[in-house]
């Protein structure tokens, strides 16, 4: 509920865990999600502090390097961790809402120091929630190293990483109830989850979100419903049916997906409850041998009083609204209709479904709704949403990978 954010205390999410446990991945995904639902959220980490510091050797991984004899590394890591914490405090003191911290948190002492720092420096109401990622499945750890560490530090081998992690593991202290912290422990990517002293609306939402995360890199296909009469007449909104051309295109879309999905019938398939969505999905679904789930959450943005009018008619009848929309396209609400912010809110449950799904996801919906979904994976700021290009007869394929999202677009002729 976006309006709740105005009354929310500042929130600090602290990540705990050995290297190659997915902390960065979790913080990245959470940060993206929180910004998408309207909070001002940022990540503060040792890596981040390092990258901002030109005087340091960027080829050294200060999170991992541990040579008990080399006090210099230990000192630098402490410094960076400290810097990140200070930047975090600054951010929240100003207009930040939520800060994620990925620094030194592996021992009880580290955590106590961090808590004290926040208490001392933050001059407003805040809440801290601790997120620990634990993993004892060697395969998962191996995958993590392969995907995230090797690309950054090419001179190292996997053995070197594993050895360094094992050294760090000796001093590592998992979160314990006596520390009196509100936390969630994610063990082996959500196979086991422990939650302690959960409090508050936002933390509750974050826990629900985290429960659905996994590390499968599956494809997400976003497609608009095909051509309708309204397209030909340049009208917006309405609930028109597919034109003859639209039906043809839907057939071609179906053919494309037959090849693309290679017989996989376990995909997550959603569409809206609007006629054009349902019809497109039926034609595609028939070809694939699967049925789409119809949800009103994917219905096109409600154009209110402008529904069914052509672009020219709107310009003539409601010039004031056109001006307002130009000035602030993200928050502009069609009178008796919706704004993009309303659509984001409406579409949020679908994001959960997509995140949860470990199989490919196919969504057939409409321009404004797809802009919002696309933005979740690609945009860093939601005010970019109104300008996103979602052409018709185009399949947008997104593959989220650690810290990133691959995209490819295919025009169906």
């Amino acid at each position: 509920m976006q309006q709740y954010k105005k009354t929310q205390n500042k929130l600090i999410l602290v990540l705990v865990g050995l290297p190659a446990r997915g902390k960065t991945h979790i913080s990245y995904k959470l940060n993206r999600y929180l910004n998408w639902i309207g909070y001002k959220s940022e990540i503060f980490s040792i890596k981040g502090a390092q990258q901002n510091n030109d005087q340091l050797d960027q080829n050294i991984d200060y999170e991992l390097e541990i040579d008990p004899a080399n006090q210099q590394f230990v000192d630098v890591r402490q410094q960076l961790s400290f810097t990140a914490a200070h930047q975090l405090v600054n951010f929240l003191q100003n207009d930040g809402d939520i800060a994620l911290y990925n620094g030194l948190t592996s021992t009880k002492l580290d955590r106590q120091k961090l808590k004290s720092l926040f208490k001392e420096k933050l001059k407003l109401e805040y809440q801290v929630f601790w997120i620990e990622s634990i993993c004892d499945d060697p395969q998962v750890i191996l995958n993590n190293i392969n995907e995230s560490k090797l690309s950054r530090f090419k001179e190292k081998t996997i053995e070197q990483f594993m050895n360094q992690i094992n050294v760090l593991a000796q001093d590592y202290e998992s979160l314990e109830n006596i520390e009196n912290l509100s936390y969630i422990k994610l063990i082996n990517i959500g196979k086991l989850v422990k939650v302690h002293m959960l409090e508050g609306y936002l933390c509750s939402k974050i826990v629900s979100f985290l429960l659905n995360l996994h590390a499968n890199n599956r494809q997400i296909y976003l497609v608009r419903s095909c051509q309708t009469e309204y397209h030909l007449l340049d009208k917006i909104g309405g609930d028109p049916e597919l034109s003859a051309t639209g039906k043809q295109h839907s057939q071609q879309l179906g053919d494309y997906f037959i090849e693309e999905l290679k017989g996989n019938k376990n995909i997550t398939f959603f569409t809206s409850q609007m006629k054009r969505g349902i019809q497109t999905a039926e034609i595609v679904g028939d070809k694939l041998g699967i049925k789409a789930l119809k949800t009103k959450n994917l219905d096109e943005i409600d154009y209110g009083i402008c529904d069914g009018l052509t672009v020219k008619e709107i310009a003539a009848k409601y010039p004031k609204q056109i001006k307002e929309r130009k000035a602030n396209p993200l928050e502009f609400k069609y009178p008796r209709g919706e704004s993009f912010l309303d659509v984001i809110h409406r579409v949020e449950p679908i994001i959960y479904e997509i995140e949860r799904s470990r199989e490919p996801v196919l969504i057939i919906a409409h321009v404004a709704v797809l802009k919002c979904l696309y933005a979740y994976y690609h945009c860093n700021q939601i005010n970019e949403i109104p300008n996103i290009d979602i052409p018709i007869n185009c399949v947008i394929k997104l593959v989220p990978i650690p810290y990133h999202c691959l995209e490819s677009r295919v025009i169906i002729k």
Partner: protein, 446 residues
């Protein structure tokens, strides 16, 4: 309404000593599932036992060394499970087995019976653990009140007997361990600690969120419609009209009422105050907000039902212009969707996040909204069946105070005369209703 993903049957089994809130959790979940449109039912071991072995069982019946009694109880449990399996086979979506299930053997037996009866079934075990004696005492007090086992004993005797019964169970209680390879949720001390193990799937993920936010705090929920609006006067539907003169007077008197209801500043600041984004509701809320010095949150989710192409018409005009739709709506008011608008089922789906939020809150909730939307909210907390929703009576100029508790929901209606400020109160207690329901072996929607 959103199509539910009905691909797999689901069986949920509770685990825990008596007076740990298992039945409470079962009922709440059952309510929630039925509300979302699933066919869900609870099967209570205890009720089977009562029906077959009678209600005169004292704690010795529960002695694990009492072989005869053990066999009888085991048979009853088997029957409950069989009925659950039958229910799922005959079109049910979710079966909830409400029992103690405190031994590994029993759990293993149930899990394999379930898995072997279906080609693909999701099972979920919910264990409720509680070491807080205050909470347990409170639960015993509530359980005792509703428990037919004790209707012939005096209250002190009953408590002693019940505590002895718990001791019998404690002797053989084994908490769920990971090597049992079960999907489970453990909730400890009313949600202070929660453990989730191998729980996957759309609905089960929702169950986890639901359980994390469950509590037994008896906080009040105040529901009121906006004051009379211009459209109300003209008998029109939809629109975004403002308040009539009478409506403004109501807003004033409503503010006075709430000011009395929440006497201190501290209490006022705790209120969760929600309204819609429509003029008539905002106007009403603003008057209240000013008096109480608190701010309402405007949620589009609470906007009135969207009447699509009928927006702004009177019922007579609708009957004339769209006679077929008018008829259709009369026959199926619940499912009928206004063209380009919504149906009651859409509304029910739409308000799910709000219901979740209210369930979660432990502070008083105050909602100023509209007729159709309040019908849905009211129905959920007051435990009405879904088909009743479109015809529930939510009149103008009336504050409905609901206090949902563990096994029932109290209701108090305060009719406020907008001109004179005169108040007339009607109260309703549902305890008798619950007592009669708890005697059934299973129930669909409580």
């Amino acid at each position: 309404m959103q199509e539910c993903n009905r691909s797999q049957k689901i069986a949920i089994c509770t685990v825990g000593l008596p007076a740990r809130g298992k039945t409470y959790i079962s009922r709440k979940l059952n309510r929630y599932f039925n509300w979302l449109g699933y066919k869900s039912r609870v099967f209570i071991n205890g009720n089977y036992r009562r029906e077959i072995c009678g209600t005169e069982c004292n704690s010795l019946f529960f002695d694990p060394n009492n072989e005869e009694a053990q066999k009888a109880r085991s048979d009853c449990a088997k029957m409950a499970l069989q009925d659950l399996i039958q229910f799922l086979k005959n079109g049910g979506d979710i079966g909830i087995l409400d029992g103690t299930n405190i031994t590994k053997e029993r759990r293993h037996q149930i899990e394999s019976d379930l898995k072997s009866s279906f080609n693909g079934i999701q099972t979920l075990w919910i264990e409720s653990i509680c070491n807080d004696s205050k909470v347990i005492q409170n639960n015993i007090r509530l359980t005792k009140i509703n428990n037919p086992d004790y209707c012939n004993m005096d209250s002190e005797q009953a408590t002693i007997d019940f505590l002895n019964r718990i001791k019998m169970y404690e002797q053989i209680y084994k908490t769920i361990t990971d090597d049992e390879d079960l999907s489970y949720i453990k909730t400890m001390n009313v949600g202070a600690d929660i453990i989730v193990h191998q729980v996957y799937g759309f609905l089960l993920s929702k169950v986890v969120s639901f359980i994390m936010n469950l509590h037994t705090y008896p906080r009040p929920i105040y529901l009121s419609r906006h004051g009379e609006s211009q459209y109300n006067v003209d008998d029109r539907v939809g629109g975004d009209s403002d308040l009539s003169e009478l409506g403004e007077m109501y807003a004033d008197k409503l503010a006075d009422f709430f000011n009395q209801e929440f006497p201190t500043k501290e209490i006022k600041n705790e209120i969760i105050f929600l309204t819609s984004t429509m003029r008539r509701a905002i106007h009403t809320s603003d008057v209240v907000a000013q008096k109480l010095e608190i701010q309402p949150l405007q949620l589009k989710t609470l906007d009135e039902i969207n009447v699509g192409i009928c927006d702004g018409m009177t019922y007579t005009e609708i009957a004339q212009k769209f006679p077929n739709d008018f008829q259709e709506r009369k026959i199926n008011k619940l499912g009928y969707r206004y063209p380009r608008g919504e149906s009651y089922l859409d509304l029910i789906s739409r308000i799910e996040p709000v219901i979740f939020e209210i369930e979660r809150s432990r502070q008083p909730v105050m909602i100023i909204a509209h007729q159709a939307i309040l019908r849905c909210l009211y129905a959920y907390f007051h435990q009405n069946e879904i088909p009743e929703v479109p015809t529930l009576d939510i009149p103008l100029h009336c504050v409905i105070k609901l206090t949902p508790a563990a096994y029932f929901c109290d209701e108090k209606r305060v009719m406020i005369n907008p001109q004179t400020g005169e108040i007339s109160i009607k109260e309703e207690y549902v305890q008798e209703f619950i007592r009669s329901k708890s005697k059934q072996k299973s129930f669909i929607d409580l």
